[in-house]
């Protein structure tokens, strides 16, 4: 096909067709013209633009009824001309615009939309679309003068009518797209960017249409789902674009105080113009808030993900552009946004996160007091409703409620402190958290599960950083707990740590009901404050210094390990419970003088229910986990705190309740990791001086002797021979303590001494041949001792032989140079051996019958000598 490049050639080709069309307006003639047009190059056609358009426009303007097909083909032809050329004249643009609009216009009489065919409508819409794109930038702007307002309004209302009432999806979408172009918000890149002045002007104009557009669009958006997601998406897009431009903070800020006076002849038009003053923007914002609420409500649950995605965009756009003018609507918008964070579609999720992060990064919230107020208001009401919601909703509902809460906190970011500084907010939030985190303490198994005897597999049983699975009253799903955890951590991350810690410490000490939860929250707060395991949208301005962290941790730790909070009744074993109960009964005052009173007097049985014991167990576990958290937070700095923390933890590691001892071991592992010790053994070895100190001090107090013994027990299990000098030191303390209180603590001490022996055997076992022999001795001793304790049938002869054997071996070991100490010992052996078999019931676990006490005393001395002797043996080598 021949292409006409020059205007002359093109003119020659097009002229006959144009002339013919002018004469007879038929579809065929239009077709012919269009066919010729296809052969003309763009440049040539540009020259002939008006010439070609003339017959087409003429045909449209011919009065009288016209064939629809003709109009359609005319419009299509115009559209194709415009697509290839540019409109350079303002008049042409305006005329074409109005002519095209007229095609859609209903007959003046009917007042209803013209009963035109869908094809025609589509053609006209597309022609308008093309027209807007073919016009030069400044030419287009000529359309946006106050004088053309009626014309624009006409077009807008037509298009809106189409978008709302048409059935065909294609028309709806095209109309919406066309509108988008019309309000100068087209997606394509070809358009000239408006400068501020122009944008302001357009904004003024569009303000007049805003009510119409927004109402119609909101109807479209919340319309039937069957209209297809594309329509909804374009409607949402158009909605936020127009609202975003008219209500833009930047523009509103520049609106002059009083309405500009227009020329007299334009007075009628000026009545149509809207002045975007403060009053107007306020009332518009109120109305828009209603519409937005409607839009958000319908589209946030829209089944198609693209709609939800577009909603995210809407929130993003409006938040970015209208953060001041539309403040009232933000509670809805943010709620929607935050709620969509956990959308099922990953696209929506990621975009949502992105937007949230963007919002946070731009510090829109942080710098905008009003927005922060809205958020804190939302937070407050959510916190108020939280316990109720958690009680009534299903798991999915709980998850969404909590992610909403989390989202608010994340959005508030550093502004959280403003919220927290308000007492009522802080209290609400804290109470909500504490109530939601209530544990289920009805499980009897936890109380019953005990660690019987010394387990050999402690080293293997140590899990790293593991937490005990908790059972909550209000929820079962792990996800819910994770969210709550995040909530606490984010709070700790942004919030004033001192304030929060202080408040939760208050709750902690306020009531036993809150204690566990408060401790749990505290643990997470501190984790969050250190930035561990938090997922946040924006960085803090000032991360808390190590000093602050340390100060907080130290205060919490002190509270945790306070006697009243650390020594709780966890079992009703008579052996263990009695000293603990005596601690409780005698308050916190140590009673060095009253040796027997606490035990011999029948202690008034306090109301110990399974439930309360379970609760106590959990509290101890949570506190232990807290210690682990603190270690993780402080890292190597925690080494300094080991002085006070290690002893209590180790004490709990020796606890009889399985859960507690497991948790304590977990905590030990945490501490090892945080303070970069290789193993628990390493940890204990390197800090044995602290432990020994704790043991020796606690041995001085009757009530804590059994705990001290437990620690020593644990320590011995986990350490090696390098500890011997220290251990020797502390054994002396143990023995002297033993001398002072045979009656009540003896069984505990016996166990410890037994483990001392076992440890010695192990340590000696590594040594040379001669030592090996002594190791044998020691082993025999310990075996004999344990036999004595367990009341295996030990005959008098056996015991006697053993002791004699022992003394003989010892003399060999000492090179036949026995000192006076051994002599004494040897002297004592026969009576010892004599009494042992008569020993009533020296079972390690059982309470001691009074009639057996004498025998027990003697045995004590025997053990005293045994351990002393073996130590001396060990040291002499």
């Amino acid at each position: 096909m021949v292409v006409f490049d020059t205007p002359q050639a093109a003119f020659g080709a097009l002229r006959p067709a144009c002339v013919q069309l002018t004469r007879a307006q038929t579809v065929e003639n239009v077709r012919r013209l269009q066919a010729h047009l296809a052969a003309v190059s763009g440049a040539a056609l540009q020259e002939l633009q008006e010439y070609v358009l003339f017959p087409l426009r003429f045909a449209l303007r011919v009065p009288g009824p016209k064939q629809e097909r003709l109009v359609q083909s005319l419009v299509q032809c115009i559209s194709s001309v415009l697509a290839a050329t540019c409109v350079r004249k303002r008049e042409l643009l305006q005329e074409l615009f109005s002519e095209l609009c007229t095609c859609l216009a209903p007959p003046p009489s009917s007042g209803k939309a013209a009963p035109l065919s869908e094809e025609l409508k589509l053609a006209v819409i597309q022609a308008l679309h093309t027209l807007m794109h073919s016009a030069y930038g400044d030419v287009v702007l000529s359309l946006y003068q106050p004088s053309t307002l009626p014309l624009l309004g006409f077009a807008v209302s037509l298009l809106l009518g189409l978008a709302e009432q048409e059935k065909a999806k294609q028309i709806k979408i095209s109309a919406l797209e066309c509108l988008q172009v019309l309000v100068l918000q087209c997606d394509c890149q070809e358009h000239r960017h408006l400068d501020e002045e122009e944008a302001q002007q357009c904004g003024d104009l569009f303000a007049s249409f805003l009510p119409g557009i927004s109402i119609t669009l909101s109807r479209v958006i919340s319309g039937d789902i069957k209209q297809g997601h594309k329509t909804t998406v374009s409607a949402i897009r158009l909605f936020y674009l127009i609202v975003g431009s008219v209500m833009s903070d930047a523009q509103l800020a520049r609106v002059p105080k009083s309405k500009e006076k227009l020329a007299v002849e334009q007075s009628r038009i000026s009545e149509l113009m809207v002045h975007r003053g403060p009053d107007w923007s306020k009332s518009t914002a109120q109305k828009l808030s209603l519409l937005l609420h409607k839009v958000v409500e319908s589209s946030s649950v829209h089944p198609h993900w693209k709609v939800r995605l577009e909603l995210v965009e809407l929130v993003h756009h409006l938040l970015r552009n209208c953060s001041q003018s539309l403040v009232d609507s933000f509670s809805h918008l943010l709620k929607a946004l935050v709620g969509l964070v956990n959308d099922e579609s990953s696209e929506v999720q990621s975009r949502c996160n992105e937007v949230l992060r963007g919002i946070a990064e731009q510090r829109i919230v942080a710098q905008n007091r009003a927005l922060a107020d809205v958020l804190s208001e939302n937070l407050h009401s959510l916190a108020t409703a939280l316990p109720r919601l958690m009680n009534s909703q299903d798991d999915a509902g709980k998850v969404s409620t909590l992610s909403l809460l989390l989202g608010y906190l994340k959005l508030l970011g550093p502004k959280i402190n403003i919220v927290l500084n308000s007492v009522s907010h802080l209290q609400r939030l804290c109470k909500a958290l504490v109530q939601v985190l209530e544990l289920d303490v009805t499980d009897v198994k936890i109380v019953e599960e005990r660690r019987w005897g010394p387990p050999g597999s402690w080293q293997q049983g140590v899990r790293r950083g593991g937490r005990q699975k908790k059972y909550f009253r209000f929820f079962a799903e792990e996800k819910v707990f994770q969210l709550l955890q995040q909530v606490c951590r984010v709070l700790g991350y942004y919030g004033n740590l001192y304030l929060l810690v202080d408040h939760f410490m208050g709750l902690y000490s306020e009531s036993g009901l809150y204690r566990k939860q408060a401790a749990m929250v505290l643990n997470e707060l501190v984790m969050g404050a250190a930035g561990l395991g938090v997922d946040v949208l924006q960085e803090r301005e000032v991360p808390p210094s190590m000093e602050d962290l340390k100060a907080s941790v130290t205060s919490v730790l002190d509270e945790y390990t306070d006697q009243a909070n650390w020594y709780l009744i966890t079992s009703i074993d008579t052996e263990e419970a009695s000293p603990e109960q005596s601690v409780q009964r005698s308050g916190l005052v140590a009673r060095p003088g009253g040796l027997c009173s606490s035990v011999l007097l029948p202690s008034p049985e306090p109301q110990v229910t399974t439930r309360s014991m379970n609760s106590n167990i959990w509290q101890i576990c949570i506190q232990l986990e807290g210690v682990g958290c603190f270690a993780a937070v402080l890292g190597k700095e925690f080494r300094l705190l080991l002085l006070s923390a290690l002893y209590p933890v180790l004490e709990k590691a020796g606890d009889r309740t399985l859960l507690i001892s497991e948790t304590a071991l977990g905590t030990l592992a945490d501490i090892c990791e945080a303070c970069s010790y290789d193993s628990v053994q390493c940890l204990i070895n390197e800090n044995s001086d602290y432990l020994v100190n704790g043991i020796s001090l606690n041995l001085r107090q009757l009530a804590h002797q059994s705990h001290a013994a437990q620690v020593l027990d644990t320590m011995l299990r986990h350490s090696d021979a390098s500890l011997l000098p220290l251990v020797e030191d502390v054994i002396q303390d143990v023995l002297s303590a033993l001398d002072q209180s045979y009656n009540n603590q003896a069984s505990t001490f016996l166990r410890v001494l037994h483990s001392v022996m076992t440890a010695l055997v192990q340590w000696c076992g590594m040594c040379s041949a001669e030592e090996h022999q002594q190791g044998q001795t020691a082993r025999e001793q310990s075996r004999a001792q344990s036999q004595g304790q367990r009341e295996v049938t030990v005959t008098r002869q056996e015991v006697e032989r053993f002791f004699l054997d022992y003394v003989r071996q010892k003399r060999i070991a000492e090179g036949d140079a026995p000192d006076t100490g051994e002599e004494e010992e040897a002297d004592e052996v026969p009576p010892l051996a004599g009494t042992e078999p008569n020993n009533g019931d020296p079972d390690g676990e059982a309470p001691l019958p009074i009639h057996a006490q004498l025998a027990r005393d003697v045995m004590e001395r025997c053990i005293h000598l045994l351990s002393d002797g073996s130590l001396r043996v060990r040291l002499k080598v």
């Binding site: 140590a590 009673r591 060095p592 001086d689 100190n693 001090l697 220290l726 030191d729």
Partner: protein, 328 residues
């Protein structure tokens, strides 16, 4: 009813020898870690970090002979130690060094601890029992020049000096020396003139320890007897017995008045530390922890009075650290 006696705040272990002397250095500013120096029977001086409660460094400068006195000269980086090897050593501990920079041979074979006083910026006087049996020598540091030798009058029969306390009323005034002797008398010496100003027989047995409060012009001394003697110094520089405090168990090895002059601590042979109010010598507490004779007691020089600690070193190889401010 009185509160039960407190437990030690902490017990420092690991010297593996009896502790004979203790000295705190806690007056440093914040980042500086408070330390406690301890001198033990095996000749080691341990530097305890009071934050970790562990030994930072162990100094060995007296050839395995018992260390009987440790003092800081100025900051905590300059240390003076006196040992039974008849030497006084000066240490430089700055920047992790641990070297003896200087030493003086005293020739004294007894247990008498030396006494140090700062007379001017960078100038100290140290009084130490000298080679001659009854003599006390005063040296200037860091020049090590002998200022004077204090010899009792011929025929005084005081015996060996047992304990010394060098002091001055205010900075720049004449330094005075209080010395407790083997025969139980306390003598006040004028160091510049080398003359005994006053003599008071306080005890029947050797004076084991004394301390003096220059503000109230009152001193306290203990011996192996069951009494504490408080004496005062009048304007004519005469020593007079002021009060006698009876004890339950005999034998006092060390006496220290707290820097704020409110309380006195004594280290007893009965394994106990006793605390008295200084004004009326009202018994306040008996701190019972050690399982052997307590050799020395020392108060810390914390800037904040509330943080002040009391440390006691004992024959049982342990150093107990007590916080008694809140109770007193």
């Amino acid at each position: 009813m009185a509160l039960p006696p407190p437990d030690p705040q902490f017990v420092l272990r690991g010297t593996s020898a009896a502790i004979h002397t203790l000295h705190f250095s806690c007056a440093g500013q914040e980042p500086e870690i408070p330390v406690l120096f301890s001198g033990s029977e095996n000749g080691f001086i341990h530097v305890w970090n009071l934050q970790t409660h562990r030994v930072d460094t162990a100094l060995d400068g007296h050839g395995g002979k018992s260390v009987c006195c440790v003092e800081t000269v100025g900051g905590k980086d300059r240390l003076l130690s006196q040992g039974r090897d008849q030497r006084i050593c000066l240490w430089d501990l700055a920047e992790g060094r641990a070297a003896v920079t200087d030493s003086v041979f005293t020739g004294h074979v007894g247990f008498c601890r030396c006494s140090l006083v700062k007379v001017a910026q960078g100038r100290w006087l140290v009084a130490t029992a000298a080679k001659g049996l009854e003599e006390v020598e005063v040296l200037e540091l860091p020049s090590k020049t002998s200022v004077c030798t204090l010899k009792p009058e011929v025929g005084a029969k005081l015996g060996m000096p047992m304990c010394l306390k060098l002091w001055q009323l205010s900075c720049g005034s004449q330094p005075l020396l209080l010395a407790g002797y083997e025969d139980g008398s306390v003598v006040l010496w004028n160091v510049t003139m080398g003359k005994a100003l006053s003599q008071l027989v306080c005890h029947q047995e050797p004076v084991m320890s004394l301390d003096f409060d220059s503000e109230k012009a009152k001193g306290i001394s203990g011996s192996s007897e069951k009494v504490l003697r408080i004496w005062s110094l009048n304007e004519q520089q005469n020593l007079q017995v002021y009060k006698t405090q009876e004890l339950v168990n005999a034998g006092i090895s060390d006496i220290t008045i707290r820097p704020d002059k409110k309380i006195v601590a004594t280290a007893g042979w009965d394994h106990r530390i006793r605390i008295f109010g200084w004004r009326k010598l009202k018994p306040l507490a008996v701190l019972d922890y050690h399982t052997a004779t307590v050799h020395c007691v020392s108060f810390s020089d914390h800037r904040k009075a509330r943080e002040t600690l009391l440390a006691a070193g004992s024959k049982d190889h342990r150093i107990s650290v007590w916080s008694i401010y809140s109770q007193m």
